[in-house]
Symmetry: C2
């Protein structure tokens, strides 16, 4: 296997507040925009590498504030999703994208099987192993979990304006998403929609389907419009909203049929 990460570059995952007592477990797959040094800049400019194509702007900051407010564990993925998109399986062409929105990613052209395996084995697999182990530890202690992933989306995609502030996404298990849609729907300043701007048909429910669904845990994916959380004030406001809604949830039992 050709090495991707150098010894000083660190693990893909940061565990924040791993022993947190909240039923909520937070995951932020697109938190970081780090490019491993062995990949240079992927052929992109600094400006391109700071756009939404490289990471979910504001998502980590909001997630950390919510984790602190709720005393919830949070798992943060540090590397750019252009290197490996941890919300996609290794089988997906979107895992190491050649195009992102309208931008060609030269460093992802013509990857060899060894290049692909290095990214899978050094980023995707250790990140998801760590998520699994955290849930294992909670399960061993009889602690159930509400599994929530936090993302952000660009207000304009391929020229089209997206007319929502918050998306609540889910796949077949709607228990938690239904509650969140009802709760956010009561906030009169927030435009919230179900399975927008993406839905399960776009392949964005991978992390939910990998961890929460097979365990029978209730889950949802939150997508916040990134211009609302690009700065401190918006991050604080949205973290307060999320913490209030998530903190008020009652905990459904794991669903046996879904396991």
């Amino acid at each position: 296997m050709s090495g991707l990460l150098r010894p000083d570059e660190g693990e893909p995952v940061i565990v924040v507040n791993g022993d947190g007592k909240s039923p909520v477990v937070l995951v932020c797959e697109h938190a970081g925009k780090v490019i491993p040094r062995s990949l240079g800049s992927l052929g992109l400019s600094d400006e391109e590498l700071s756009r939404h194509i490289a990471w979910d702007i504001g998502a980590e900051a909001v997630s950390r504030l919510v984790a602190k407010a709720l005393d919830a564990p949070l798992l943060v993925q540090r590397y750019s999703r252009l290197v490996y998109d941890c919300n996609r399986p290794p089988e997906s062409p979107d895992a190491m994208p050649v195009m992102s929105e309208t931008t060609r990613i030269p460093g992802n052209d013509n990857l060899t099987p060894e290049n692909r395996l290095a990214r899978i084995s050094e980023i995707y697999r250790p990140f998801h192993d760590r998520v699994a182990r955290l849930l294992d530890h909670r399960a061993a202690r009889g602690i159930s979990s509400l599994f929530v992933t936090i993302h952000s989306f660009t207000p304009v995609y391929k020229g089209a304006r997206r007319l929502l502030d918050l998306g609540v996404l889910h796949d077949r298990d709607t228990r938690l998403a239904d509650k969140l849609l009802a709760a956010f729907g009561r906030l009169k300043d927030v435009v919230v929609k179900r399975n927008e701007p993406y839905g399960p048909e776009d392949g964005v429910c991978h992390t939910l389907n990998l961890h929460a669904q097979p365990r029978g845990l209730a889950y949802a994916m939150l997508e916040i419009r990134n211009d609302l959380i690009a700065q401190d004030a918006g991050q604080k406001l949205w973290a307060e909203r999320l913490a209030e809604v998530l903190g008020a949830l009652s905990l459904p039992q794991p669903r046996r049929a879904a396991s």
Copy 2:
């Protein structure tokens, strides 16, 4: 963590023919009946520990013959499902069962969180990590996979006779199961049924939902009545049937919507 396995007891997983060229990947979660020495006999007699409650009689032998015939990779789990049932998530009460059919399992009474975590961390997690890594390696090389788990069931359960030879089980993705049901249905000596003697509502699709569904791979779980494969001749006959049907399958593309 209190240790479960001693250094000489070996990993839970045996990889057979890991570089096999078949599109089919075989998994046998209930292959073995080994009890870690630290658990004694779980309070059961040798006779109870050789019954179907401890393992899937005949499943490993059939799986190995099919793997050889197809040149398919096979992942075998060595420890008894009474220690940890690798087809159940850590959240499930069936993962470390206190009752199996009508037999009480004294060694599973009053497990501490440390006891549970040791079984999860030393059996369940390394087994499924190994399955995931095998699929990762195939994905990196652009090799898609048909994911098939092989089980056996007892002909009489809680006093009721089960009137089938073979069950083809699936959850939401029916692509492979439909093809297998059609193919086995053409064999006039075989009584085959869909989602019997168990189905997804019984929580038996965990391994499928953990590995195949989130990757968009087509999958099925095969349940063979164990009196048909308890001896060499039956194992050989059923392995030939399975190899013929599985070897004739064409390979659907991974389903993006399912990922």
